[in-house]
Amino acid sequence: MGFLITTLIFLVVGIIASLCVRICCNRGPSTNLLHLTLVITATICCWMMWAIVYIAQVNPLIVPILSETE
């Protein structure tokens, strides 16, 4: 469940970011498309990294073994 919710959060953040960029720097259709591409690429990169790290920890095969001093 946590995975889906956070994925939705990423999606919403991405949409808000593209709207913000469209509102604040609206400079013609080709430039807008460029800005949209950049925002979508950044969102996908960030989501991928988070998702990989999250999924890797859901069913761990190794558990933390504390070291002696602690």
Binding site: S30, M49, I52, V63, P64, I65
Partner: protein
């Protein structure tokens, strides 16, 4: 140019492809040529082609003008040199100074140069006389001292002798027999002692003395005294250590020898008279002349400074004017002269969107120069490949330069810069991942960005120049680093449970097995990033290594797929369906059936928590595909799926290799069916339309060459699929290195210093920690991660689609760089 291209597949995007360029021809009447080129230079959107390339620089039309400009530039450099020696700073150029005439400037420069040279020559002469007089004064003082001291001792001796004599009054004849004998000698044979005084450099003084002694067979007497402070030598103008010498000799031959030796040693001689009264008189005279000379020299220097100030006021203005004129004449030399029609013909590349502005500039120039006819603007058709032009702003220009450093995009090819703007800082951050370090770099680059206006007008050093130029890239890098730092949960290598408590806890209340078997997962997965419990545990490295390696593979396969999809967009834009069917599709199938499948296996393993060994699965998929998988089974029917994928991969390799050369050959034959003769070149009487060196080689088709090319391309792709995927593991390697270095500095420096409970050691520890963090982690690791992220883009991403053999659009413009010195 551009009829066969289409952008119909997808809406146009800024920066994705080069601006459409056209070859334009301008026919300009002679009287408005200069003004036209000047206005086009202000516009900065035309790249002129050199139509006179076979002529030497001296045969060109405007060679004399360029020589003139060169002369003026030389004078300006001379002024600059003189001004910097005198410490005068030229006045800053204000915007929009009134336009000045080049002839006026030339005349003024000539006058000022003559005046300045004269002043300098006079100054040198005066300075030389001053130094000589200084030396003369020293000689007078020192030699005077010597003579007076000798005189004193002589008189003292004589008094002694006289007092002795008086005691033995009658024995004077006996006591001074030599004197008696002397009186009887013929006075005409008496030898007269002469002397010379002067200055000799200290390091040569011993040698000087010895050579004098030998040359005159020991018949001289020399005395030297040291001068304490160094003296300015008149001939060289530098300070030197010197000695004053007095040489006593007898005879004319000895005198000439001594004179020659003095000249050879550069020892300056000055006249000296024995008479005490005359000496005093000379000293006062010399002192008087010295003070006169000093005032004269000061007045001369003052005059020169005033002159340099007046030059400094106008310097920047003249400098700019001369450089502009030189550039204009160089450009005018590139236009071909059409003698019959009394006009100049220019050819150049310019973007299509600039047509109106160029025509506007032409009209204005024709009007301003009061010419009878206007200029003609005409678009030419050519098969030559145009230059590539991307319109970038200060944000995107840094990334575009990074991409161009590898190779400038071919005309209208897809620009990797679009995605590089985001993926380059992202991959950097994957290797850098620490939000503390990210904040430090963010602060540094915010300083550069906030002081942008001030720093861009200053002249910075080489390294600062590069850092300043890339400030927006570094800003992105730091923002992504903060994000990945939060994901890796490292703040100067310390993890924090920022978003929720850690998911792991002891198995029982006593926590007895925490160090042997370990903790277990009791709560939900840590929601954002890496669980903070892992740092410092014994099983940290096995877990993190596995995570980061798999992450690198997943990111790498995604980026390579993006590269292949870019090649699809290129194929669609250039309407090459053979590239779509026999390059894009086999490449996608090959890469994804092997490494895409590996990525899917990784995700399935993570989602199901299976203990399958993925190395084993992948290797035995090739070695023995029909074997049972046993405990390595991740999903049902895995064996069948693997067999199918293996088959697809094997089939796609000959699909990449064989069809394309044959299809290209058939296309070539279809295009040139029945054309046994090549068309004749059309000759136009007045205008030379077809550009030189254009389209030979276009009609040739070497099948063997195409086949070998395709073979190389296929082998490169197939082998590269494995090696490039493995290359992405550097993302793991560098991030491991960064976190280990960071944790070593923290534990072994800061915590160690804290453990001593001593303030001094703590302060020392903090200093060492700061220096190590800044030097190793913030500078060296940044450069290292930058370099590796760059390599991943240039090689692994771009070799999937980028050709990069174009040339950059270099318009004629008056924006000079600060260091340009023609």
């Amino acid at each position: 140019m551009g009829e066969s291209r289409g952008g119909g597949c997808c809406p146009p995007m800024d920066l994705m492809r080069s601006e459409t360029m056209q070859l334009v021809q301008l026919i300009v009447p002679m009287e408005s040529a200069h003004l036209t080129v000047s206005y086009l230079g202000d516009l900065g959107l035309v790249q002129f082609k050199d139509l006179n390339s076979e002529k030497s620089p001296f045969q060109r039309t405007y060679a004399a003008q360029i020589k003139r400009c060169g002369e003026m530039a030389r004078k300006i450099r001379f002024f600059k040199d003189q001004m910097s020696k005198a410490g005068v700073i030229p006045k800053e150029l204000l915007e929009k100074e009134s336009d000045i005439d080049l002839d006026d400037v030339e005349v003024k420069l000539g006058e000022l140069e003559a005046e300045l040279v004269e002043i300098n020559a006079n100054n040198d002469k005066l300075q030389r006389s001053y130094n000589e007089l200084m030396e003369y004064k020293l000689v007078l003082q020192k030699a005077g001292e010597f003579f007076s001291s000798a005189h004193r001792s002589a008189t003292a001796q004589q008094r002694e002798i006289e007092s002795e004599d008086s005691q033995q009054a009658g024995d004077d004849l006996l006591e001074s027999p030599l004197l008696q004998e002397e009186k009887s000698i013929d006075s005409s044979k008496q030898v007269k002692l002469g002397f010379l005084t002067g200055l000799v450099p200290r390091e040569k003084s011993m040698v000087f003395e010895r050579i004098l002694f030998r040359a005159t067979r020991g018949n001289i007497f020399i005395r030297q005294t040291v001068i304490e402070e160094p003296v300015i030598d008149p001939s060289s103008g530098e300070k030197a250590e010197k000695n004053v010498f007095v040489v006593f000799y007898s005879g004319e031959r000895a005198k000439s020898k001594i004179l020659k030796i003095c000249e050879a040693f550069g020892a300056n001689r000055y006249p000296f008279s024995e008479d005490l009264g005359k000496q005093a008189q000379m000293i006062t005279e010399v002192s008087g002349r010295l003070s006169e000379l000093k005032t004269t020299i000061d007045a001369g220097l003052g005059h020169r400074d005033i002159l340099l100030q007046t030059i400094g006021d106008k310097f920047e203005l003249w400098n700019l004017k001369v450089r502009k004129e030189k550039a204009i004449y160089h450009t005018l030399n590139m236009l071909s002269l059409d003698v019959t029609k009394k006009c100049l013909v220019a050819e150049g590349w310019s973007p299509v969107f600039a047509s109106n502005e160029i025509q506007d500039a032409l009209q204005r120039a024709a009007f301003d120069s009061n010419s009878q006819v206007g200029s003609i603007f005409q678009v030419l058709r050519t098969k030559e490949s145009p230059p590539t032009y991307f319109r970038t702003n200060k944000f995107t220009s840094a990334i575009q330069e990074i991409v161009d450093a590898y190779g400038v995009a071919k005309y209208q090819e897809a620009n990797p810069g679009v995605f590089t703007i985001v993926t380059f800082p992202f991959l950097f951050a994957v290797m850098f991942g620490d939000w503390g370090h990210g904040i430090c770099i963010l602060l540094a680059t915010m300083y550069l960005i906030l002081r942008e206006k001030k720093l861009s007008s200053q002249k910075l050093g080489d390294i600062m120049e590069m850092a300043f130029g890339g400030r927006y890239v570094i800003l992105m890098m730091s923002l992504f680093s903060i994000y990945t730092g939060l994901i890796y949960n490292e703040f100067f290598s310390i993890p924090y449970p920022l978003f929720a408590p850690s998911a792991y806890d002891c198995r029982d209340a006593s926590c007895s097995e925490a160090t042997t078997i370990g903790l277990i997962k009791v709560r939900d997965t840590y929601p954002f990033g890496l669980d903070p419990v892992w740092h410092g545990t014994r099983s940290e490295l096995p877990f993190l290594n596995s995570l980061k390696m798999k992450m690198s593979i997943l990111l790498g396969v995604s980026q390579m797929n993006l590269g292949i999809i870019m090649s699809y967009f290129n194929a669609r834009f250039f309407k090459s369906s053979v590239n779509i069917w026999f390059q894009f599709i086999p490449q996608m199938i090959f890469l994804n059936s092997l490494f895409g499948y590996l990525s899917v296996l990784i995700i399935i393993k993570w989602c199901t928590g299976s203990q399958a060994d993925l190395y084993h699965v992948m290797i035995y998929m090739f070695l023995s595909p029909t074997d049972e998988l046993g405990e390595n089974q991740l999903f049902p029917h895995q064996k069948t799926v693997q067999l199918v994928l293996l088959f697809l991969a094997l089939v796609s390799v000959p699909c990449m290799l064989l069809p394309k050369p044959f299809i290209l050959k058939k296309q070539h034959e279809a295009r040139h069916q029945g054309q046994s003769y090549a068309p004749l070149d059309e000759t136009d009487e007045s205008l030379h339309v077809e550009t030189t060196g254009g389209s030979h080689g276009h009609e040739e088709f070497e099948f063997s060459e195409i086949f070998v090319h395709q073979l190389i391309h296929t082998i490169e792709f197939v082998l590269g699929a494995v090696s490039n995927t493995a290359s992405y593991l550097r993302l793991w390697a560098l991030s491991l290195a960064h976190s280990e270095l960071s944790s070593v500095f923290y534990e072994k420096v800061l915590l160690l210093a804290w453990g001593y409970n001593n303030v001094l050691i703590l302060i020392l520890g903090i200093m060492v920690f700061i220096f190590a963090t800044v030097g190793v982690l913030l500078v060296m690791e940044t450069l290292s991660a930058f370099l590796h992220a760059l390599r991943l883009h240039w090689v692994e991403f771009q070799n999937k689609f980028y050709e990069g053999d174009g040339y950059k659009f270099a318009p004629f413009t008056f924006i000079f760089t600060a260091n340009e010195d023609e």
